[in-house]
């Protein structure tokens, strides 16, 4: 039967946490947020390792938690991969996986554990202890152990954070393959935006103990709801401007001593927070005929094959950042023109 996780919990102590979310079977939901925002606590609550003050957690209609009823982790059939994998250091890789199958006869334990270690490409290392395995191999043992008992949900708590990028890529592939085969809800806690974009079907952005925005990765990335979400999604240019007048089909905003016309109807006199996606911004040689804004370069940092250019606009405290090829001849204090594709500008909620 296809399962669906439903969660709606609240707590005030030791820190405020309030969250409501759902995760369908076969779906990978990424909980994205900075350290200390409560995402790991939320995951532990789903696992039954700690409890909220009130609310409800259910899987496929079966209540796991409702404030009074509190099922233990042993009663929930959880596949859980903690941040540092939580492997049993005195057991071999095979015995670690078998530990999750302890209710089965020994022969079946061996067969299933061996099979799972084969699936995560660890057949040559079954007799090795965790200390004799690399970080990536330990992670795969933890994944095999979490999945061996055919869990009803898979919970991953920043499982890739301690790995190098090559190992991480390999594991992304394994997880993406397993995702299509498993057909269970999967929740990934991460603070890595790329990871969330790559693996998740949906992202829930968390901050200060609550869910700030939820949606498809592309939607959340391009249309962050608030300034906090935009910052978490790595949006660089978040600006604040006053709407000075409206005109046909648009509004005019003041930007330092310049004006910018946006194709949105916004209340005149209001202050708007808005963001400039990187693909909406380019640098033009000075005196370009379609120039939107004029400024000068305040800082120039070379990042590999790219310049990270900071542009100051007259009378504006915020700096606009963009990247361009190092082949472009640039110098600090050089006057530049910014071309903005104004239809790609996104207005944030107040």
């Amino acid at each position: 039967m296809k399962s669906e996780l439903r969660l709606d919990i609240r707590q005030r102590r030791p820190f405020a946490l309030e969250a409501a979310l759902q995760c369908r079977a076969g779906e990978l939901l990424a909980l994205l947020g900075p350290s200390g925002c409560g995402k790991s606590t939320l995951l532990r609550m789903i696992a039954g390792l700690q409890h909220a003050e009130s609310g409800e957690i259910s899987l496929n209609g079966t209540t796991w938690f409702d404030g009074v009823k509190r099922l233990k982790p042993q009663q929930r059939r959880i596949g859980y991969v903690p941040q540092h994998y939580g492997l049993f250091p005195h057991m071999s890789a095979l015995d670690n996986v078998r530990a999750a199958l302890h209710t089965l006869p020994k022969q079946e334990q061996m067969e299933r554990a061996t099979n799972w270690l084969e699936k995560v490409q660890l057949t040559p290392f079954t007799q090795r202890k965790p200390a004799e395995l690399s970080g990536g191999q330990q992670q795969r043992v933890a994944l095999a152990r979490a999945l061996a008992s055919q869990p009803s949900i898979l919970l991953l708590d920043e499982p890739f954070s301690a790995l190098d990028s090559m190992t991480r890529e390999g594991l992304y592939r394994i997880l993406a393959t397993l995702k299509s085969q498993l057909g269970i809800p999967m929740i990934l806690v991460t603070h890595n935006l790329n990871e969330a974009n790559l693996l998740a079907d949906r992202i829930a952005v968390m901050g200060q103990g609550c869910i700030l925005q939820e949606g498809a990765p592309s939607m959340v990335g391009l249309q962050p709801a608030t300034r906090a979400v935009a910052a978490l999604m790595g949006v660089r240019n978040i600006l604040t401007s006053k709407v000075i007048r409206s005109q046909a089909g648009g509004s005019v905003l003041s930007l330092g001593d310049q004006e910018l016309t946006l194709p949105f109807i916004l209340p005149v006199g209001s202050t708007q927070h808005w963001c400039l996606p990187q693909n909406a911004l380019s640098l033009a040689a000075s005196q370009h005929e379609h120039t939107n804004l004029k400024g000068h370069i305040s800082n120039l940092v070379r990042l590999g094959e790219q310049w990270l250019v900071s542009v100051n606009l007259p009378e504006l405290t915020e700096t606009i950042e963009l990247q361009c090829s190092v082949t472009t001849p640039l110098a600090i204090h050089q006057p530049v023109d910014l071309i903005l594709q104004t239809q790609k500008i996104h207005i944030l909620e107040a």
Binding site: P73, G86, A131
Partner: protein, 226 residues
Amino acid sequence: MDWVALGLSLKLGVMTILVLVPLALLAARWLAYRQFTGKPVLEALLAVPLVLPPTVVGYYLLVGLGSQSWLGQWLMQWTGHLLVFHFSGLLIASIIVNIPFAVQPIQRGFESIPQEVRDAAACCGMSPLRSLLTVELPLAWPGIVTAMVLTFAHTLGEFGVVLMVGGSLPGETKTIAISIYDRVQAMDFDAAGSMSLMLLLFSIIVLALANSLSKRFGRRGNYHEI
């Protein structure tokens, strides 16, 4: 060589371990995993025998379990004999003075098991008992061995509290440490010397064995060495 006294000391050491270590396991696990108000006070209370002169512990036990106390009288009615100047009284005294030597190393052993490992055991569907037997005890084993060695060695060498509670009754309360003292008082330095040498060698062998056993188990995991 006072073989009776040596036998009594060994018996007292083994009995103390058999009674104290299982109780210490429960207490140490509870103290290692739980955070509660008053925990530092409780830990300090359990550590008191470390700093208190053994004669003070012995004095309170003598007074508390003696024939003049209500507890002593009640125990006399129940068991038919007084606990003081009897092996059972000696055992109780030995257990009390050894509490910190047993509890603290085991508590450190449990504390060294990462929370993630215990969480993983629970998420693997293991009951608390199964988790204790298959995950926690093997990982806390070096701490448990240390507790057993310290308790045994401390019991063998205990003098003040034994003398206060047990006196020096041959075969009943006269341990090897008391016997050495008796021999010195009687100016029998040959007997005192041979017993002391034997106790010294025995202590070294037990410590070496325990250390090697602990390291062998410690190598099974990542976390422990004593």
